[in-house]
């Protein structure tokens, strides 16, 4: 990582509100030009961390370095970062152009240069013809793009985005996603993007930090987060998964030997921190397949099914009573009758032993 320039380094940041701790010593590094997402349920501390980077919240401990310089003691107006707010926070009494040039003028730009730069960013977000409108005369999607233009205009070292798509309707949100991603590539500015929407995170990010209860659970590229979750929380929060109770007999490096319910033994990749003893195995529903009773890795009984169009969800029960979900693609095999005894096969390399 040494050869990659770090845009932001979060170093053991702690944030307390009275007796409540919102961030328990969070650390992560965001690379230059990276689309970095903070993902987690509400109350996990992702927005608090973003507000600490912007300067709206004072950290209780730790450092935040912007291009190597600790900015934690600086007030927000002295930090070279800009924010796209969840509710956009556009200045209602100013035109779109005045909104966009506001930051430039405060940075000491001349009126004419600021206006030229303002029109340039408005072109980037395709709002050139709305320069003289008031924010109140624009649609939600247009306001969102004004907020983006306003934050991009001063060429911040890092752009912070606080759930910027949550106020848009679904169709618009999907269109804006790819637009946002291409603007990020075009400008080369590191984006720190806060969301609770895993699909948003998986489709847009270079890397994702999954947060829960003020801790970072896992940091990695989307594929790694989805396919190689390290903790129960990540496996459960991202997508759908089956958590199977297993007994770990041996861990050597990144591989564990374990015993499945029903007694079958198997070797599988283990998350760092996995230990011998009782553990949890995560298997995605689409990576389980049906076979005849007595074969496969697990013995299950068919309970019910849910038809979802592109695929069908089969609800199963193991001998010890644990529930299991299998996803069967449309047109691949028949749905077993309720009560039928079946075998389940885990696709090679698809199971993962979690850390807790």
């Amino acid at each position: 990582m040494l050869d990659v320039a770090q845009a932001v380094e979060i170093d053991s940041v702690v944030k307390r509100y009275g007796t409540v701790t919102a961030l328990h010593g969070v650390s992560m590094a965001i690379a230059e030009g990276e689309f970095f997402t903070l993902l987690g349920p509400s109350g996990c501390g992702k927005t608090t961390l973003l507000r600490c980077i912007a300067g709206f919240e004072q950290v209780s401990g730790g450092a935040i370095r912007l291009h190597g310089e600790d900015i934690a003691p600086l007030p927000p107006h002295k930090r070279m970062v800009n924010t796209v707010f969840q509710n956009y926070a556009l200045f209602p009494h100013m035109t779109v152009l005045d909104n966009v040039t506001f930051g430039l003028l405060r940075r000491g730009w001349g009126t004419r240069d600021a206006e030229a730069r303002g029109r340039e960013v408005l072109r980037l977000v395709q709002l050139s013809e709305f320069a003289q409108r008031r924010p109140g005369q624009l649609s939600g999607g247009q306001q969102q793009r004004v907020a983006l233009a306003r934050a991009l205009a001063p060429r911040p070292k890092v752009l912070l985005l606080d759930e910027p798509l949550s106020a848009l309707d679904l169709k618009l949100r999907q269109a804006v996603r790819s637009e946002l991603k291409s603007i990020q590539r075009e400008t080369g500015i590191a984006f720190v993007f806060v969301t609770h929407d895993q699909e948003e995170a998986l489709t847009m990010s270079d890397r994702i930090a999954v947060m829960s209860a003020g801790h970072v659970q896992q940091v990695g590229p989307p594929r790694e987060i989805y396919e190689a979750p390290q903790t129960r929380f990540v496996a459960d929060f991202i997508g759908e998964t089956n958590l199977i109770d297993v007994t770990v007999t041996q861990v050597s490096g990144a591989v564990a030997r374990l015993q499945l319910p029903g007694g079958a033994a198997m070797d599988c990749p283990a998350a760092p921190g996995a230990r011998p003893g009782p553990g949890h195995l995560s298997v995605r529903p689409e990576r389980l397949s049906l076979c005849a009773a007595g074969q496969g890795d697990l013995a299950a009984v068919m309970q019910d099914h849910v038809y979802l169009g592109t695929d069908t969800q089969l609800l199963m029960r193991l001998a010890d009573g644990a529930r299991l979900v299998v996803r069967q693609q449309a047109g691949s095999g028949t749905v077993p009758d309720p009560g039928a005894a079946l075998g389940l096969r885990i696709e090679a390399g698809a199971a993962r032993l979690l850390a807790d």
Partner: protein, 307 residues
Amino acid sequence: MAGAAPQGASAGSDIYRGNGPRLLLPVWLWVGIFLVAPVLIMAVYSVLTKEFRGGVIWDFTLAAYDQFFLDRGLFGDEPPRIEWTYIGIFWRSIWQAGLATVLCLLIGFPTAWFIATRPARVRSVWLFLITIPYWVNLLIRTVSMKFLIRDTGPLNEFLLWAGIIDTPLALVNTNFAVQLGLFYSYLPFMVLPIYAAVERYDFSLSEAAADLYADSWTTLRLIILPVVKPGIVAGCILVFVPSLGAFLAPELLGGAKTFMIGSLIEEQFKGAAGNWPFGAAASMILLSIVMAVLLLHARAQTKGDRT
């Protein structure tokens, strides 16, 4: 009736639209009887001839306006010069009301800001405290104010006792006393509309401004003040207009030197020395000034919205 309800509801808007003018009747009556009629009566009285024991004689004349603006000498036979007495009183009143408005704004804005930024439950307590004095009659409060600041009142007693002064301050019958009275009487009219505007203010706008490199002073000047301006303007109008016509504070706390429009008009309708047409004319002139201020404000407002 219950069975017919859905049909009635679907046609409801048409029914009410047809009834519109009739439903507005109470409003028109109220405005007509209590607003239009009194102004018309005043306008008519201002162009009638005065009767000696008060009241009017139905002879059309512009004598009242003439008396207000022109000086024709003691016996009315000299060439007319501009009469400065009443214009002076008006000017002093406008100045006093303007000063009271500025004072109320300087104290009222921080007060309103303070209240609006408290937690929701504490806010109503603060608002209640602001309005408590208004449960007491204005006359009684103004007299109490006089008692507080007179030569042997608690304020002077305290300053003497503390050794800050060695002779009592002569506060009663001064501009200061009138200002104090006006300020005290009308401060809540400044606080409440500004409070309403600040309470609606979206504080993420201040965060956005700080995020875009604006320090607190710039944020106040370029974002907060323009956004809450309607509340400030409303507060200023609500303080300026009644201050301009006030007569309790000038009458009780001021002296001959602080004579204001309100007292001038009041005198014209009191007892045998009164002059109803002159009082009506002065009222019409006062009304014109107030209307001019409001129209200018409305003009500025629509202009600001259009750009």
